[in-house]
């Protein structure tokens, strides 16, 4: 009897600990969001979005940082998505299962764990200096593309692997070539998963600061970036800059910019969830 009580006691204690851990995480996050919202909501106005950075906190805005983020993200997606999806297709659908492909797979997984600042150093050497792209949007986008490629490849492979083998067999048995099987049957079914992976990878890139600082993205850009070779800044760098200023006015601006970044991130994730839900319903087995 006593032993049973002790066993049940242990179960209850563990449940309580697990619950506490969950609550702790949520509470900290909620406090953080509340704090940022309290400080930042006040600065959100139309002029906050349309003004360039300034020496005077009350005039400073995120216009160039937001535009820079949009530019960099668009180019990153342009470079990373086709490469990542194609690499995933090769590894899942074409590559023979041998030592070489296992070695490649292992390294891709390792690359996903490399600290982002290392990618910054690589980008600095390769794109900024090697290809002489200077501190341009292009150099930033290429660097971030390298950073998210491993994530993209892993997510796309996951999506491809989830396509039932029976579907491929059905198409092969009708005399389809491997490419026809992939193009007409596998990719359409894997598409929602690939899309989700793509959005999640991009939402990782949008918050990256370290690699872009490493390649020399500026913090004070008082003009609109007009092309891929222009100098640029992005939201996280702008936030980093404002937070490191002594004036309280800049801290409020930073909080406002964090809210904008959070809003963009949340809507990207929301879109990913929505698309996955919408598209997967079409392919219920």
């Amino acid at each position: 009897m006593e032993r049973r009580q002790r066993r049940e006691m242990a179960g209850k204690v563990f449940e309580a600990v697990a619950l506490a851990a969950t609550v702790f995480g949520l509470v900290v996050l909620a406090m953080l969001l509340f704090d940022v919202a309290r400080r930042g909501l006040g600065v959100l106005s139309w002029s906050f979005f349309t003004s360039y950075p300034s020496r005077f906190p009350e005039q400073a805005g995120i216009r160039s940082a937001l535009l820079g983020t949009i530019w960099v993200m668009a180019l990153t997606a342009l470079f990373a998505v086709p490469l990542g999806v194609a690499a995933a297709i090769y590894l899942e659908e074409y590559a023979p299962r041998n030592r070489l492909t296992r070695f490649i797979e292992l390294n891709i997984n390792n690359l996903a764990g490399v600290p982002s600042i290392i990618y910054g150093l690589l980008g600095l050497e390769l794109f900024v200096r090697g290809l002489k792209l200077e501190r341009s949007i292009l150099a930033g986008a290429l660097t971030l593309s390298l950073l998210i490629l491993p994530i993209l490849i892993a997510a796309s492979r996951e999506a491809l692997r989830a396509v039932p083998m029976s579907l491929r067999e059905a198409a092969f048995a009708l005399g389809a070539t491997r490419w026809q099987v992939i193009r007409h049957q596998v990719l359409p079914v894997a598409f929602p998963g690939i899309l989700t992976g793509m959005i999640l990878a991009l939402s990782r890139a949008i918050g990256e600061t370290a690699p872009l600082i490493t390649i020399g993205a500026l913090t004070f850009i008082a003009f609109d970036p007009r092309g891929p070779l222009d100098k640029f800044t992005v939201l996280p760098i702008q936030i980093f800059n404002w937070v490191s200023r002594p004036q309280a006015g800049f801290h409020a601006r930073a909080a406002g910019a964090i809210l904008v970044l959070l809003a963009v991130l949340l809507s990207m994730n929301g879109l990913a969830i929505y698309l996955r839900y919408r598209l997967q319903r079409r392919y219920q087995w």
Binding site: R97, L167, F172, L174, G175, Y283
Partner: protein, 257 residues
């Protein structure tokens, strides 16, 4: 004397260097239904998948011996595997329609062969759905997703889809094992109907089914070494009433398997 469409000569298939079936020599007559029966793991499906080279998709599989289709070795150097699979269609155990419309399922084969003309595709889709005894049930919802059909309808759709590439042979890998008795009966009736025009090879471990639908029966068995071999081949009537081999008799009378 029957006309022979498919013939295996001393066919052996290895997975990872280990034989799964060994020394199979078998002759499949034209416009007949040939059933391959035997207990699980005897290599029935492996044998069937040699006829349209589906074993090519398994990297560790290796085939020796010959598979002759209309006298040509399917594993010969000049053979186009895409062409083989177009002329020798396959229906799988679990209905596997594409997650697309009924129309697109049937049209896929012709489309990848480059047929674009809408009227011609319409004609092919209707002809194949009729041939698969599905037309009346789906003619008003051709553009509905194929996955909304019942299991039996899905399997008949898969048959229609296989017919659309105008094959000469239909391979069926336990086509009714995932279906209820009524859907099974429909598939069997359909097979009898299709056998007027097509050569059918069916793998089944339902002996009644083999006895009901097939003209010829091949009995396979894996020995202690887990290597599948052909034990006996002959007219279904003879296999089920006067088997020559003791093991065939034991199997069909339900003593094992």
């Amino acid at each position: 004397m029957e006309e022979i469409v498919l013939e295996t000569q001393n066919l052996t298939v290895y997975y990872n260097g280990r034989p799964a079936i060994e020394g199979i020599s078998l002759r499949i007559p034209r416009r007949r239904i040939t059933a391959i029966i035997g207990p699980s793991g005897c290599g029935k499906s492996t044998l069937l998948r040699c006829f349209n080279r589906m074993n090519d998709l398994i990297p560790s599989a290796r085939v020796t011996g010959r598979v002759l289709f209309e006298g040509v070795d399917l594993y010969g150097p000049d053979v186009d595997v895409v062409e083989v699979r177009r002329r020798i269609g396959m229906v799988f155990q679990k209905p596997n329609p594409f997650p697309k419309s009924i129309y697109e399922n049937v049209a896929f084969g012709p489309r990848i062969q480059g047929i674009r003309d809408r009227r011609r595709l319409d004609e092919i889709v209707e002809r194949c759905l009729r041939a698969a005894a599905l037309w009346d049930e789906v003619k008003d919802k051709l553009h509905q997703n194929a996955l909304t059909l019942s299991g039996g309808q899905q399997q008949r759709l898969c048959i229609a889809r296989a017919l659309a590439t105008e094959p000469e042979v239909l391979l069926m890998d336990e086509p009714a094992s995932a279906l209820d008795p009524i859907a099974t009966m429909k598939i069997e009736d359909l097979m009898r109907e299709l056998a007027r025009e097509y050569t059918i090879v069916i793998v089944t471990h339902n002996m009644q089914q083999a006895a009901r639908v097939s003209d010829y029966t091949a009995f396979m068995l894996a020995g202690e070494d887990r290597v599948g071999r052909l034990i006996e081949f002959g007219p279904t009537q003879q296999i089920f009433t006067r088997p020559r081999d003791r093991r065939t008799e034991d199997y069909i009378t339900g003593r094992f398997g």
